[in-house]
Amino acid sequence: MLRFTLYRLAQALGVILVVFTITFFLIRLTPGDPFAGEKAMPPDVRRVMEERYGLNKPLITQYFTTLGSYLRGDFQPSMKYQGMWNVKIIKDAFPISLAIGSCALVIALGLGLPAGIIAAVKKNTWMDYGFMSLALIGICLPTFVMGPMLIMTFGLKWRVFNVAGWFEKTDWVLPSLTMGLIYAAYIARLTRGGMLEVLNQDFIRTARAKGVPGSRIVMVHALRGGLLPVVAFLGPALAGITTGSFIIEKIFNLPGLGQHFVSSVFNRDYSLILATVVLLATLLVVTNFLTDVLVAWLNPKVRLS
């Protein structure tokens, strides 16, 4: 287990380094720069700015300087938001996305898992068709339709929640619901598929022949195998869920992290792009590692090798 963990750790660092390198050079290939605005910046000012952020040095020197400061845990100041450090920007925005994402995850699992299990057990009944139709609608509806629909119902018609913003304690409900319902739809379909596959196996017949009651067959004999597709899907999805969605943050006007992924690129904010991408890559690597551990726990065959 120790060797496995160390190996995965080395692998993770390698992946992050590659992502770091590719991102660093790729953004420099895009036209424009952090100081290109509608009003042209006076050449003297521009020179001072470039000097301040080290942009006047050769690209390869910049790369190693940046890499060095990342290794020291210094994620550099933003090039667009004057006087702001990237760490501070992320620290302000990430908890909001994390809170909404966590609630969305609870909603997604809380609705998706039971719906999928019931649909699989009651295959080809109205319950199955009902849940799967809802799931299909959930998958087909984009967030920018689901979000405004929820806003119109709960915000405008019934006036239970604010339509947008991040002021009151209840403001997380609608964005979480928008995100959670859509993931719930995916999870429900994956759970149903996984459970159906397991429930058709010979060992389920063995369990029935032993007189195991139906509920125990589902919970003890089938669930572990049936959940594998969901775990495989959730691992990588987790990083995306917790770092926020640009669209949802725009619809609900939230100061989350999702907006920075997009706006930093438009702003050519070289250092902020790098910081957010490295954060996402790290989260992805971590969640993938956790998924592997979870799969090994669920599946004794993997555990052995």
């Binding site: 017949r205 022949a209 007189g211 195991v212 599946n299 004794p300």
Partner: protein, 327 residues
């Protein structure tokens, strides 16, 4: 001698898009205490469905039990609710299956699975049930059971897994064991070991066994009484020595001619021509008629199904003029 199971006129059908498939059509047989009753037939002859329907393991729908009775002790298995059947399955009637590779749950420890019938039916505590499970594994000849019980099925070989299945089936000391082709997926040396094991345990525990197989060599080895099934019906039923000495029905004879070991070396292997009939669309008369030789075919019943008659004491065969060979 006491009868453990008495099946009368069992009828099971499947209602599918292509019509009604009569998988089992009026099958009757008895299973005596301490004896082994074989059910032989080709794939699709209804031998497995016969046994699954007794325990309510046929998926319903599309399956449906159309009629008959199955007296087990003083209850009719076919009339019991799912709850009542659950109490009988795995405690008084156990089953083992064809493929030991897929019949054990890969996610659960062997001990959990072997001890489960005790936990469910006798309400034993986990430690008590696991202690008994270790004994059960030792009884079926698994070396080092204290260690093996904590392992997972993929750490066992095929033969060992079938031993685990047997241990699991017999741990509650059932009155009846249904073995659905338990040796088909194993290679020959392991087959022999598993057959010997089943026979030893049967003798020691005095249980009745229903043995489903398509392998006549296995039948001659383990069975006391044989039922030959074809197209969902019994075509012949007899004590085992009598059946092998004097097979009466053309189908049974063809089956015996197909045993490779009984054929002369160098000759092409004998196979029964044609395929088993489509059960959704059975011919009205004798079901074996399309596969008979032309001169015999002319004699077969075409207007009604041939009834079973007792041709000699204890030996029954379908009374079709083309298929039944009398002395």
């Amino acid at each position: 001698m006491s009868t453990v199971l008495d099946v009368q006129d069992l009828k099971v059908s499947f209602h599918t898009r292509n019509g009604v498939v009569r998988a089992v059509d009026g099958v009757s047989f008895k299973v005596e205490k301490g004896k082994t009753t074989g059910i032989v037939g080709e794939s699709g002859s209804g031998k497995s469905v016969t046994c699954y329907s007794l325990l309510g393991l046929v998926p319903m729908p599309p399956g449906r039990i159309e009629g008959g009775s199955a007296k087990f002790g003083d209850v009719d298995l076919l009339k019991l609710s799912e709850k009542e059947l659950q109490r009988i399955r795995g405690s008084r009637i156990s089953m083992i299956f064809q493929d030991p590779m897929t019949s054990l749950n890969p996610w659960l420890r062997v001990g959990t699975q072997v001890a489960e019938p005790l936990r469910l039916h006798e309400g034993l505590s986990k430690s008590e049930a696991w202690k008994r499970a270790v004994e059960a594994l030792r009884e079926v000849g698994i070396p080092d059971p204290e260690k093996r019980i904590h392992q997972y099925p993929h750490e066992f070989s095929g033969g060992m897994r079938q031993r685990v299945m047997i241990a699991m089936a017999l741990i509650t000391r059932p009155e009846l064991l249904i073995a659905d082709e338990p040796t088909t997926a194993l290679d020959v040396t392991i087959q022999k070991q598993v057959l010997d094991l089943i026979r030893d345990l049967q003798k020691r525990l005095g249980i009745a066994v229903v043995f489903i197989t398509h392998d006549l060599a296995v039948v001659s080895e383990v069975c006391d009484y044989v039922n030959v099934m074809y197209a969902g019906r019994l075509v012949e039923a007899s004590p085992v020595q009598e059946l092998f000495a004097r097979p009466r029905h053309a189908y049974t004879q063809a089956l015996m001619r197909s045993i490779p070991a009984l054929q002369r070396k160098g000759e092409p292997l004998y196979t029964i021509p044609g395929l088993p009939p489509d059960l959704a669309n059975l011919p009205s008369g004798c079901a074996f008629r399309p596969r008979q030789t032309p001169e015999r075919q002319a004699l077969c019943l075409t207007d009604r199904q041939p009834p079973l008659v007792e041709v000699s004491p204890g030996h029954w065969a379908q009374d079709c003029p083309g298929c039944l060979i009398r002395d």
